[in-house]
């Protein structure tokens, strides 16, 4: 067992983990942050995407011990029903989700994209979401949602992860 100290959604945690524990399982099973999903076992689907020190990572491909000392942000940490992040609002406005399972990962990857490119082209959005699979939407409305959020954020809406 190993002891790690890290911050999740602004809250400090000190936890003991088995060395083989993946970050996604620590988040889901120990911290009960079930908004981060597991859709595959080969790092293809991107449902488990979170921000690690501000950058998007697939939390199924990070050992929990690698997050020692890090700041992790999950879907639960970017906004709430009463105060949505611009990307959360944009996904709702543009019908960028159907079953909702890939959605947290899509939103976290999109935050990572917009943090580095505030006004991406359609092609850049599609390329940036290469590591996130959606089986419901055909991506059409996801692309529109990211464009919508980019416009909203350029207009002054706040954005976590944009530092």
């Amino acid at each position: 067992m190993a002891e790690i100290n890290f911050t999740v959604n602004g809250r400090a945690h000190e936890v003991e983990v088995e060395a083989r524990t993946l970050l996604v399982h620590l988040l889901r099973d120990t911290l009960h942050l079930t908004g981060t999903h597991v859709g595959c076992d080969t790092s293809q689907c991107g449902s488990c995407t979170v921000l690690l020190n501000g950058r998007g990572v697939k939390s199924c491909t990070v050992l929990a011990v690698q997050a020692d000392g890090a700041e992790v942000t999950t879907i639960e940490g970017i906004g709430s029903r009463g105060a949505l992040h611009p990307l959360q609002e944009a996904f709702r406005q543009e019908h960028g989700l159907q079953c909702g399972f890939c959605t947290p990962g899509m939103i976290m990857s999109s935050i990572d994209l917009l943090a580095g490119n505030a006004n991406p082209s359609e092609a850049e959005i599609r390329h940036a979401l290469d590591g996130n699979l959606c089986r419901c939407t055909g991506y059409h409305n996801i692309v529109k949602a990211v464009q919508h959020a980019a416009r909203a954020m350029a207009g002054g809406a706040s954005a976590i992860g944009s530092e």
């Binding site: 889901r28 076992d41 949505l84 709702r92 989700l97 159907q98 959605t103």
Partner: protein
């Protein structure tokens, strides 16, 4: 009375944002794997590495000696405890049913066949111990392809089923078809395969069962599209759990596409183990397990013969198909390549004589069942691909050939040669609109110009119909379905006027919480936030049949519309009583009852609801309360139709294909929420296009799945796709009071053929008239290279 008039504005036909999105975008959705119970054990399954083997012995001793291990369960143990095989839900005369045990008994028949279950304190411990269970297999010869399984001398998948034939099935008039073929001017023949697909809903299957000793009741959370069907089949047929002591909850479900209709071995084991051990038991599939254990889709090998007269009109159609159903029959498997396939073989065309023959084969592969579209994409692909081959052969433009054969709008109701009666349709405007949107003549000119410069554009059409809104119960019953396909709906008005709606449909992405609220709110004159839609819980919702076959709006929505009408009628009687008027003199509009011609004399709906529950002053012969239930049993299928056009560019030097435009014009009748319908279409188009270009399950000749992960099974990504251009025509369905048709599968049904046709069209200059899907770069490059005389 005006309250039963068909709905128009404002809520039906508008696109409010989805009520369910709040939880999904904030990470507070509740999927099965998100649920945990105190004291729960975790299951892991031991699975066969062989496609076909006899089980000599299973040694669990090493696994049981490991820390945190509570039990190892085998098939023999379940059988001895009285557990039964999983039954198929649709039977044909002469069908041969192989026993599908929740855990293998005596033999395994496909790679991934569950052999034993290990229960442990954590998923990791369960997995470790599953790897320590020693199964002594006696490997047997295997067969993976349906056509191979039917050859003389093929390996026998099941000893008691000679020749691996599940059933032979035919539809249509063989003699009339033969006669018409003999008299035809020309016959176009095409052999084609419709490759096997793997659904890959992004949420893997999962189940969590809890046995409540005090109540003697099992509660099962499961990734299901139809929880009541799960309860019925598992309770009555497999486990022997009485329905009133067995509750099935399908909470948020992360996509289904058919794969979560079926009752699977794992959830049966989980439910049984929970009761047997007296502990909650949980299992969540890994994606690797999903690839070998989720029912797969399609897998047809088909010969088409299409006969034409001198005017380019189809006079006869003969289709012979071998359907590979895999190792066992899951719930809908026998229906998919038969009644969901042969019955739509007329497409949108007037074809006087049709004969369809299907032979279904057992193979040593994962079972095959309904996958988005289920039979109808296979039929549409066979028909539309052959139409393009015919257009090429006859020297008639593909759009023109289709137009000549469309059923004219004054021919409805139209009796096809394959059993269905299309009740409504008007096909030509959709074709015209799609061709206009794509600017067909201009595009053909660009194509011709491009070819002179080494640029290979392809234009592919698909004119389709589908039969959905499953289904008229008496019809499907006469065809072998073991249950009717009606739907339940309850509208429960609370004393304050707020409304709870219960539906037997189940949403796993379709947005029922919004569209069903729209239907009821529209009828009762309230807002959609005043209506809560409850689904997916047999403990709360009356018996219902669930969601598949694009049925929820046309059947489930119709049930709710009807229940809302009943509520409104009861309200009218209460209002008349309070307003001291005759019920026929009371009207309802904008959430109020009023005396006709005297709108000032009115009662708000909420006042009526309160009066109904206070019951101090209601008509003497009336029961208190304001609630109604409808079981809606449709009189016919609904028949969406449309024209899709795909435009691709093929780089013949590399074989790569870029889908550059996609136009879809569909007719879903009246549309409740256009935003949601468009979303369904986008996803459907993508899945169909993906079959044409990328996806395909590959087994080797020993039955090993070579495409067993997302690393080697190509799912569509954002970068592969364009924005979709959609439009609609509106021909309301006459079989339900909303005039709606299903929209969940149409995109998939139409798009595979449109995209495949576009690629082959691009390759026409090389004399290529057909390639089997998926149309991968290597396949295209090889065909072009061969056409150029290379080797």
């Amino acid at each position: 009375m005006t309250t039963t008039t068909a709905p128009r504005a404002p809520l039906i036909g508008s696109s409010p944002k989805r009520k369910e999105d709040g939880r999904f975008i904030t990470g507070t959705g509740r999927y099965t794997d998100d649920i945990n119970m105190p004291g729960q054990l975790h299951a892991a399954f031991v699975r066969s590495p062989y496609a076909h083997a006899k089980i000599r012995s299973i040694d669990s001793s090493a696994a049981l000696a490991m820390p945190g291990i509570h039990a190892v369960i085998t098939g023999e143990e379940l059988k001895a405890a009285g557990v039964n095989p999983l039954p198929p839900g649709w039977l044909h005369p002469g069908i041969q049913i192989a026993e599908f045990w929740p855990l293998a008994v005596g033999q395994v028949s496909h790679v991934g066949n569950a052999v034993a279950a290990v229960l442990a304190d954590s998923p990791a411990l369960a997995r470790d111990a599953a790897d320590a269970v020693v199964v002594d297999y006696d490997e047997q010869p295997a067969v993976a392809e349906g056509v191979d399984a039917l050859k003389p001398g093929a390996p026998q998948v099941h000893e008691k089923i000679p020749g691996n034939v599940v059933f032979r099935w035919a539809l249509g008039d063989a003699d009339a078809t033969d006669t018409a073929m003999q008299g035809a001017r020309s016959i176009v023949r095409q052999h084609l395969t419709n490759q096997r697909l793997i659904a890959n809903a992004i949420e893997p299957r999962a189940s969590l069962a809890n046995y409540d000793v005090a109540a003697d009741e099992v509660t099962l959370y499961v990734t299901s599209q139809n929880p009541h069907v799960h309860r019925l089949i598992m309770g009555a047929f497999v486990l022997g759990l009485p329905e009133h002591k067995f509750r099935v909850i399908a909470p948020d479900v992360g996509g289904g596409f058919g794969s979560k209709i079926f009752i699977y071995p794992e959830e049966c084991v989980v439910a049984w183990a929970s009761k047997s051990l007296g502990r909650p038991v949980k299992w969540t599939a890994t994606r690797s397990e999903a690839f070998v254990s989720d029912a797969q889709g399609r897998d047809h090998d088909t010969h088409v013969e299409m006969a034409f007269d001198e005017g380019g009109k189809i006079v006869a159609l003969r289709v012979r198909t071998v359907a590979n159903l895999g190792a066992y029959l899951t719930l809908f498997a026998p229906a998919v390549p038969t009644y969901l396939y042969g019955t739509v073989m007329s497409g949108p065309y007037n074809i006087p004589a049709i004969h369809v023959e299907v032979t279904a084969a057992y193979t040593n592969t994962t079972p095959v069942d309904a996958y988005r579209g289920a039979g109808r994409p296979e039929a549409t692909y066979a028909l539309e691909r052959t139409m393009d081959v015919a257009a090429h052969q006859l020297g008639i433009d593909g759009a023109e050939l289709r137009r000549r054969n469309l059923i004219p709008k004054d021919a409805f109701p139209f009796q096809t040669a394959v059993a269905l009666q299309y009740d409504s349709g008007n096909y030509e405007p959709a074709l015209d609109r799609a061709l206009a949107m794509i600017d067909y003549p201009q595009l053909r000119a660009e194509q011709a110009e491009g070819r002179t410069k080494g640029k290979y554009l392809g234009i592919g059409l698909s004119t389709y119909i589908e039969a959905c809104g499953l289904a008229p119960s008496h019809v499907v019953g006469s065809l072998g379905a073991q249950a009717g396909l009606y739907e339940s709906g309850v509208v429960r008005v609370h004393p304050t006027g707020k409304v709870t709606v219960l539906t037997g449909s189940h949403a796993h992405g379709q947005g029922h919480e919004t569209t069903f609220a729209q239907i009821v709110a529209h009828e009762l004159g309230c807002g959609i936030d005043d209506v809560e839609v409850v689904h997916g819980d047999t403990g709360r919702v009356p018996f219902g049949m669930g969601t598949y076959g694009s049925r929820s709006g046309a059947v489930g929505g119709a049930a709710l519309f009807s229940a809302a009408q009943k509520v409104k009628e009861k309200g009218r009687k209460i209002a008349a009583h309070l307003l001291e008027a005759a019920p026929e003199d009371v009207d309802f509009a904008d959430g109020s009852y009023f005396v006709k011609g005297s709108p000032g004399t009115s009662k708000a709906f909420g006042e009526i609801a309160l009066a109904a529950y206070l019951a101090h002053n209601i008509p003497a012969d009336m029961e208190p309360g304001l609630e109604a239930t409808t079981f809606f049993n449709p009189a016919n299928f609904v028949f969406p139709f449309g024209t899709h056009v795909a435009v691709v560019e093929v780089d013949v030097e590399t074989g790569s294909v870029q889908l550059i435009r996609y136009v879809a014009v569909d007719d879903f009748g009246n549309v409740i929420n256009p935003m949601i319908v468009d979303g369904q279409l986008h996803g459907g188009i993508t899945q169909g296009a993906s079959q044409a270009l990328w996806e395909g399950a590959q087994y080797d000749s020993n039955g090993q799945l070579l495409t067993g992960s997302m690393m080697n099974y190509a799912l569509p990504k954002a970068e592969f796709l364009p924005m979709f251009e959609t439009d609609r025509t509106v021909t309301p369905s006459p079989v339900n009071p909303l005039g709606v048709k299903g929209a969940g599968e149409a995109g998939t049904i139409a798009s595979t053929a449109a995209v495949a046709n576009a690629v082959i069209d691009a390759l026409a200059p090389f004399g290529i008239t057909h390639l089997d899907m998926p149309l991968t770069p290597s396949k295209i490059w090889e065909a072009v290279n061969a056409a150029r005389g290379g080797n």
